[in-house]
C-alpha cells in the first residue's frame, strides 16, 4: 500500500518534470533558431489564423456547457458517472472529458475516458490497464463506451 502511494507520487513528479522539460525545449529552440523556431510548432505560421482567431469561439465555449448539462441530467449514464466520480465537480469532469474527446483515435478516446472514470491522475494518449482489478476495469470500459455514445448524441442534437 505504502509502496503504491510512493509510486503514484513518483508518477506525478515525473509528469511535472516532463512538462518542465517540454517548456525548456521551447526555450532552447528559440535560442537556437530565433523566431524561425515557430515553424517547429506550427505548420501554418504564415496562414490566416491570426486574422480568423475569433471565429468558432462560441462553439468551443459551448462544449463544456453541453457536457455539464448532460452530466447534471437524469440520464442513467450521467447518474452512473456522477456516482463514480462523486469527489469531483461536474465542471471538472466536463473539462477532463473534453480533453479525452480531443484525441483522434476512437480506441484512445475510450481508454482516456475510462481513466477519467477511474480517477487516474493523467489523461495520457493511450494509458491502458492501470488497474489490477479486472472486473472494475471491464465495468469502467463499458461505462466509458456508453458515455461516449451519449456525448455523441448530445452533440448531434445540438449541431
Amino acid at each position: 500500500m505504502v509502496q503504491e502511494k510512493q509510486s503514484d507520487r513518483q508518477q506525478r513528479l515525473d509528469s511535472f518534470l516532463q512538462a518542465v522539460e517540454a517548456a525548456q525545449k521551447v526555450q532552447d529552440d528559440i535560442t537556437k533558431y530565433g523566431l524561425e523556431a515557430a515553424h517547429l510548432y506550427c505548420d501554418d505560421v504564415d496562414g490566416d489564423w491570426l486574422e480568423t482567431w475569433e471565429e468558432d469561439e462560441d462553439e468551443q465555449q459551448n462544449f463544456v456547457e453541453l457536457v455539464t448539462n448532460f452530466l447534471q441530467s437524469d440520464d442513467l449514464v450521467a447518474v452512473r458517472v456522477r456516482k463514480q466520480l462523486k469527489d469531483k465537480s461536474i465542471q471538472e469532469i466536463a473539462v477532463e472529458l473534453e480533453k479525452c474527446l480531443s484525441l483522434s483515435e476512437d480506441e484512445d478516446r475510450i481508454f482516456a475516458v475510462k481513466n477519467v472514470l477511474a480517477g487516474s491522475v493523467a489523461v495520457a494518449e493511450s494509458n491502458r490497464g492501470t488497474s489490477s482489478d479486472e472486473i472494475d476495469e471491464i465495468e469502467l470500459l463499458d461505462l466509458a463506451e456508453k458515455l461516449l455514445e451519449k456525448l455523441a448524441e448530445v452533440f448531434e442534437k445540438h449541431n
Binding site: A19, T31, A38, W49, L50, S102
Partner: protein, 231 residues
C-alpha cells in the same frame, strides 16, 4: 500542428485552470483576447505570437501539474527537484506574474503591431545562454520576463542564486531614464536584485566577458543591489 490546434489547447487550458487556479484562467483569457486584437503589423508578428503562445501553454501546463499535486509539501518538494533558476521561475516569478496586474502587458501588443518588436540581440543572448550552460550555470529565458520584467535572461551559477539580467548595447543611446525604468520594473515585481549590463559589440571577446560578469554577479551581488555595469 496547425495554429487552430494551438488555439484549442489554449481553450482547454483555460477550462482546466478554472478549477485549479483562477489567476491562471484570468491570464490565459487575457492572452486569448490579446491575440484576437493583434493585427499583424510585420512579417515577424505571427512567428512571435506562435512562440509566445507555445511558451505560455507549456508554462501553464507546468503550473497546473504543480498545483494539482495533492499537498503543499508535495508541491514544494517537486520545486526543489528543479535547478535553482527554474525553481525561481516556477516557484516565484511566474506565479507572481499570474497574480499581479501586469502594467506592461498591453504595451507589448502595441509594440508588436507597430513592428517595434525586434530580436536584434537574440543571437547574442543565444551565445551567452550556451556559454553559461557549458560553464555549468543554468538559465531561464521567457518572453514574459523579457517584456514585462525587463529581464533578458535569468542566470544561476555555483551559489545557486538566480539573478535577473538586462543587456544593452552601448550603441543604443544610453539614458538614465532607461536604467531608472529597469530598476523600477524589477522593484515592482519584487525582484530583489538585478544587473543592467551595457556592452560594446565591437570589443573583442565580449561574449566571454559578459558570461564571466553574469556568473560572478549571480554568485556575489548582494540583495537590494540593482547594479549598472558598463563593459
Amino acid at each position: 500542428m496547425q495554429a487552430k490546434e494551438i488555439k484549442k489547447k489554449l481553450r482547454l487550458l483555460i477550462e482546466e485552470a478554472s478549477v485549479i487556479d483562477p489567476g491562471l484562467t484570468k491570464r490565459l483569457e487575457e492572452i486569448n483576447r490579446w491575440v484576437k486584437d493583434v493585427k499583424p503589423g510585420s512579417l515577424t508578428a505571427k512567428r512571435f505570437v506562435i512562440l509566445f503562445l507555445q511558451q505560455m501553454l507549456q508554462d501553464a501546463e507546468v503550473w497546473l501539474k504543480l498545483k494539482s499535486l495533492p499537498s503543499e509539501e508535495e508541491q514544494q518538494s517537486a520545486l526543489t527537484v528543479l535547478n535553482p533558476t527554474l525553481k525561481y521561475w516556477y516557484g516565484y516569478l511566474f506565479p507572481k506574474w499570474l497574480s499581479e496586474n501586469d502594467p506592461k502587458f498591453y504595451i507589448w501588443r502595441r509594440k508588436l503591431m507597430a513592428g517595434e518588436f525586434n530580436q536584434e540581440d537574440a543571437k547574442l543572448i543565444g551565445s551567452i545562454a550556451n556559454n553559461i550552460k557549458s560553464s555549468g550555470g543554468t538559465i531561464v529565458l521567457r518572453y514574459v520576463a523579457d517584456l514585462s520584467m525587463a529581464t533578458d535572461i535569468i542566470v544561476s551559477s555555483t551559489q545557486d542564486s538566480p539573478l535577473c539580467i538586462q543587456l544593452t548595447s552601448v550603441s543604443e543611446e544610453f539614458s538614465q531614464e532607461k536604467f531608472d525604468d529597469w530598476e523600477n520594473t524589477l522593484i515592482f515585481w519584487a525582484i530583489d536584485r538585478g544587473l543592467f549590463l551595457s556592452y560594446n559589440p565591437r570589443a573583442t571577446d565580449f561574449v566571454n566577458q559578459i558570461v564571466n560578469i553574469l556568473l560572478s554577479n549571480s554568485d556575489n551581488l548582494s540583495i537590494g543591489s540593482y547594479l549598472k555595469f558598463n563593459l
